[in-house]
Amino acid sequence: MSETMNVSKGARIEGGIDAVVIGATADAFAAAAMIARSGLHVVLIETGDRPREKREFSPGYFAVDGDPLAYALDQQVIDALDLYRHGLSFIARRLETFVRFGDGAAMTLPGDPALAGEAVAAFSEADATRFADFLEEERKTARALSGWFSGGAAPLIPALREIGAASFDGAVIGRFADQRLEDYLRAEASIGAAHRSSEAFTYLALLRRLAGETAGLQGGVAAIDGGGRGLASALRRAAQAAGVSIRQTDRVRTVIVEWDRVAGVSFDDGGQIRAPVIVSALSARETFIDFVGKARLDIEFARLLDFPAPTIATVRAHLALNGPIGDALVGARLDRRFLLAPSAATLESAWRAAASGKASNGVVELVFPSALDRTLAPEGCLTAAMLLHPVAFGDPADEVWREGIENVAREAIRRVAPEMSAEIVAIDLDAPERAAPPMFEALERRRRITDASGLEGYFFCGPEASIGGGVSLSAGRRAGERALRYFKEGGTNP
């Protein structure tokens, strides 16, 4: 059974290629480079959402796409592709986190979570040891789970069922004398999640956060030089160095399936690239439904790809500030990560508001990119990038939705820095990102989507293959490794 195609006149059929990678994400480049460095001829088709160059969202103010922070950057990819040599660098390897609570109090947590005890002691003497012990214990558990989070098999821990099903509230409420410490942890666990902290399966999100390792530090946060763009260009250089040919012109129409194997991709103009290995970094729906078609997928598999429409989202807002921040506590050092950790009740009303399509103040993660890269704002001015969560999933073209979010963003920065003297001269919103399903569901779905399509030679590292927010490259590495193994075990010549 072969694909019948009308190859129009002049359309090329290209052969001699070992692998095609579809997508323009960091994972796509990581996968392509991982495969190419073993000597395979790889073509990467840069399609889908391409990271944009830094853009001027207000005169003199620039926003950078992607996450400026990294929580869990796959060390194996960095080493294998020698990304440091290709330009990856960190501005800060251990970013401090400044936490502002709902009542206005503040706490600064050091970049190294192992030192959290002292910082907490200054905030709540009674909880210092308890908090440090808790963090240490949970980092240990998280370490045992980290392979699972990054794409490996579930570990054989007897408590996994209990931990996995636990709600954040069930696991944490009552641990500390000062409830604001719960609020801090809840904020960390809630960013990007689709469910309230009282619901089942939500505790795992905190462990996911603690499991991440960047620049050799588990549970730490690092700032990448150049933000998401910095990482993207390092990966691109690594891919080019490994011999990947990058094409930007083509739009993939279908993935050619011959019998049960993929055999290449076809394009709108009728052209084809024949290759025994295809890696897709596009969404699961595009990868399977659009490129292959439901009629060639198992019924049970196709059903996995039917996600309910999102209602909750996270949105990133870029703010232009026309002067120094002013607030003494915040302004003391801007090269930190700022977190607004509201009380449980405030966060709860944010959930209700988001679920009913309105905007309200929830958790806010804030950084000042211009404090890390001076070129992003005019002299003496600032840019701020904040993640707002939870918000209603909406259309950025919808004025009412935009306005609601912008108001929340305005209020949020004043909550973090109440004494702020600068004025907000512009706000720019990225498209909302749908909130993530509970970790357990996401992990199970990922396992099935990456393993169970039944199409030989087809590998997946799209968004559904990454668990937890932030860029990690693990999905790209796993897809690359699997593709290589398949190729070497004779995928080409059965």
Partner: protein
């Protein structure tokens, strides 16, 4: 005063589940004590027939228990009630009058939901709403399924993992009036030699030599080799850290209220004469509103209710009630006036649903155990206490756990 101070097993929570668990453990030869927490729900309505193993161990045939046909569960927000029973095939046929596809879809839904807790089911992480939307288009049917399955756990259907509540959609084949079964289990537990402690439990801890120590109301202490809770809800409201084997159905917020109403003027409606449990929720949005009001600390004006008619009385449950009320940002406990307001709301909802000029008067409003208060008091240094996973048949679940615990010895 207790006769002994050291036991093999202490069961916390003197409800039916606790009685059955303690009785079974004692029959297995374990020195067993049963402790009250004060969070036990009132004994009302009818409950599923205990599983055979419990029946045999406790020789329940001695107590002359009367079985009843299981009640029909009926949502009565629309003109024509939507009812389900213990027989999904028959229900499917009846539902076919709403939409012909339901005839087979409903039985296969019930069968599928029976498997939803299985380790390889992706659906078990989903919300009940996501699963219901995947099967059905009929909003009333989906609302009915939530009233039947999710409401007892205080869930509104949009929570992660709430799909697992749908696993108990099929009703029991036979039921026993709760009062009678409670009496029988109490006598059976006594006969089995369970020490039923009069004083309320105050606190539980574990000493260095691994013995559990329960402190009673009067200051007395009893010790035990192992401990279990009769239900997750009671244990958490009491302030215990529990382990339920990974069930996502734990209630974390709000309480259930029990409302007794007197029928001043009986409705003409024929509904009132059936052996039935009625649900008043008109749609899923109403359930979600009530749940949100519960979280916000407000009394919903049209609370979704589950009620039965017993003679001249109506016994109603309001599953989505706040544990504490919030007024102007301040929390406060339930006052007598608040209870009256809830009672009046409940009476008016039921009057409206029964129609035919029914007139009801509230007699009593009880507020169930509050998990939230317990969560704050937990001792994280003590190991977690085993509790049966939340279930539609709590007696069976607790007994199974007791047998598992005593079987190891």
């Amino acid at each position: 005063m207790t006769a002994r101070s050291k036991f093999d097993l202490v069961v916390i929570g003197a409800d039916m589940a606790g009685l059955a668990a303690a009785g079974c453990a004692a029959r297995r030869g374990a020195q067993t004590a049963l402790l009250r927490t004060g969070g036990e729900a009132p004994v009302e309505g009818a409950v599923a027939e205990p599983p055979n193993a419990v029946w045999r161990l406790l020789d329940l045939q001695q107590y002359d228990l009367k079985f009843e046909a299981p009640p029909v569960h009926a949502s009565i927000a629309e003109k024509r009630p939507l009812a389900t029973s213990d027989d999904p095939v028959r229900d499917g046929r009846a539902l076919a009058s709403r939409e012909s596809a339901l005839e087979h879809l409903w039985p296969s839904f019930i069968a599928d939901m029976g498997r939803i807790g299985a380790a390889d089911a992706v659906d078990r992480y989903l919300s009940a709403n996501a699963v219901l939307d995947d099967y059905f288009a009929d909003e009333m049917l989906k609302t009915h399924a939530l009233s039947l399955c999710a409401a007892p756990f205080g869930l509104a259907g949009d929570e992660a993992g709430s799909a697992q509540a749908l696993g108990v959609a099929a009703a029991a084949r036979r039921v026993i009036p709760a009062q009678a079964l409670h009496g029988a289990l109490l006598r059976a537990a006594e006969a089995a030699g369970v020490e039923i402690v009069r004083e309320k439990a105050e606190a539980l801890s574990r000493s260095e030599n691994k013995l559990w120590k329960a402190t009673l109301d009067g200051g007395e202490e009893i010790r035990a080799k192992s401990v279990m809770a009769s239900s997750a809800l009671i244990a958490e409201a009491f302030g215990l850290r529990i382990e339920t084997g990974g069930s996502p159905l734990l209630r974390r917020q709000g309480v259930e209220a029990f409302i007794r109403l007197r029928i001043e003027k009986a409705p003409k409606s024929a509904l009132a004469r059936k052996n039935a449990v009625f649900f008043t929720a008109p749609d899923r949005a109403a359930i979600r509103r009530a749940r949100d009001a519960m979280i916000a600390g407000e009394i919903d004006e049209e609370p979704p209710l589950t009620f039965e008619i017993v003679g001249r009385e109506i016994i109603a449950r309001a599953p989505y009630c706040p544990a504490r009320l919030v007024e102007n940002g301040e929390e406060r406990e339930w006052s007598g006036q608040d209870r009256q307001i809830l009672g009046r709301h409940a009476a008016s909802v039921i009057e409206k649903r029964l129609g035919g000029g029914a007139s009801l008067r509230e007699i009593e409003v009880l507020i169930g155990p509050d998990v939230g208060a317990g969560l704050r008091r937990r001792d994280f240094d003590a190991p977690a206490v085993p509790a049966p996973p939340p279930s539609k048949d709590p007696v069976a679940a607790a007994a199974a756990l007791a047998l598992e615990l005593t079987g190891d010895e």
